[in-house]
């Protein structure tokens, strides 16, 4: 039976969709059969981040309303071994689906996949309730900013109140230079405040923007964000991989290597 993970944050714009896409692709590259579901009704984006926007015929609302079969709505990403997208509806709103319908959809499909990842909309209204309805566990995405951490704290409270106990934190867009000079909260600062387990840290990396521009993943590619996302996927599979130490002073070899990589 597959594991159902919701990727949520409260605040918008912290990287939920990018995270869903990269973890989905990473897990499929590690040999797992993965379904990613965009639950943000009316603001469909996961298809765009994955570069699959031209292949949508049916969407999640069509499946739930019974206008099509699940197989007709699923988009298989041919670049990766076993990755499927169930896209959101762009012209419907959050009330087109109920948490019960969502739960049933997931129960119907969970035996066919190793992982089902749910990309949650921002906010704490019905879209959030729909997204978490069928989830076993959650990845709470935040950035090291006051507003994002505040919202993450609220979300953790709501997840626990809904009976989802396995909640892990992903700190996104860490600016190592700013942490070093005391102008950004560090990983320790954030984990001290949000007392849940840390799943991973993604350093701010322009490769993410470049990849997203092209509808391609960073996971598994060279670079800090690519390897951090891959480590997160391995941790989800139960491997013991320590959180990367981005604060250690740059060694001589790294300095030389980054000198030669500049161009």
């Amino acid at each position: 039976m597959g594991e159902v993970i919701v990727i949520t944050s409260g605040k918008g714009g912290v990287g939920k969709t990018t995270t869903t896409a990269n973890i989905g692709i990473g897990l499929s590259r590690l040999g797992k059969k993965v379904m990613v579901i965009d639950t943000d009704l009316g603001l469909r984006n996961l298809d765009v981040v994955l570069g699959l926007e031209n292949r949508i015929v049916y969407n999640i609302v069509d499946v739930i309303e019974g206008s099509c079969r699940l197989k007709q709505a699923l988009i298989k990403d041919k670049r990766f071994p076993e990755l499927y997208l169930l896209p959101s509806a762009q012209t419907k709103d959050k009330t087109s689906i109920s948490p019960e319908q969502m739960k049933k959809l997931i129960e119907d499909i969970r035996d066919d996949f190793d992982f089902i990842l749910l990309d949650c909309p921002a906010g704490i209204e019905q879209g959030f309730q729909n997204a978490i309805a069928g989830a076993d566990r959650a990845i709470v995405v935040t950035t090291p900013e006051v507003s994002a951490i505040r919202d993450a704290d609220r979300i953790i409270g709501l997840l626990e109140a809904s009976g989802i106990r396995k909640n892990e934190l992903l700190i996104n867009r860490l600016r190592i230079d700013m942490v070093k000079r005391g102008d950004m909260m560090s990983v320790e600062d954030v984990t001290e405040i949000l007392a849940i387990d840390l799943l991973g840290v993604i350093p701010d990396d322009e490769q993410v923007v470049i990849a997203t521009n092209q509808g391609e993943p960073v996971v598994g590619e060279d670079g800090m964000a690519g390897s951090s996302y891959m480590n997160i996927c391995r941790r989800l599979l139960g491997e013991e991989i320590p959180i990367e130490d981005y604060m250690k002073p740059e060694g001589f070899l790294e300095k030389i290597s980054s000198f030669f990589h500049r161009s």
Binding site: V146, D153, G157, V179, D183, D189, I193
Partner: protein, 69 residues
């Protein structure tokens, strides 16, 4: 800038989370701290500089006499 902005961020966040978690205004959180201080001070010698409360979602921790600092 004389103070690193990360200290300001942490202080603001701490106050926000206290009022979010007990669902009251920052002002009410301040009054709660004061009332708790007055209550504790009835029973033991404490100094306001060494008194602090920390509110998590499950507990209220009272720190005094510079412990846990």
């Amino acid at each position: 800038m004389s103070v690193h902005s990360v200290f300001v961020a942490k202080e603001r966040l701490k106050n926000l989370l206290i009022s979010d978690r007990i669902q009251c205004t920052p002002d009410a959180a301040d009054r709660l701290t004061k009332d708790l201080y007055l209550t504790v001070s009835k029973y033991m010698e404490i100094n306001p500089d060494h008194f602090d409360i920390e509110i998590t979602r499950n507990d209220i921790h009272i720190k005094y006499a510079g412990e846990n600092k």
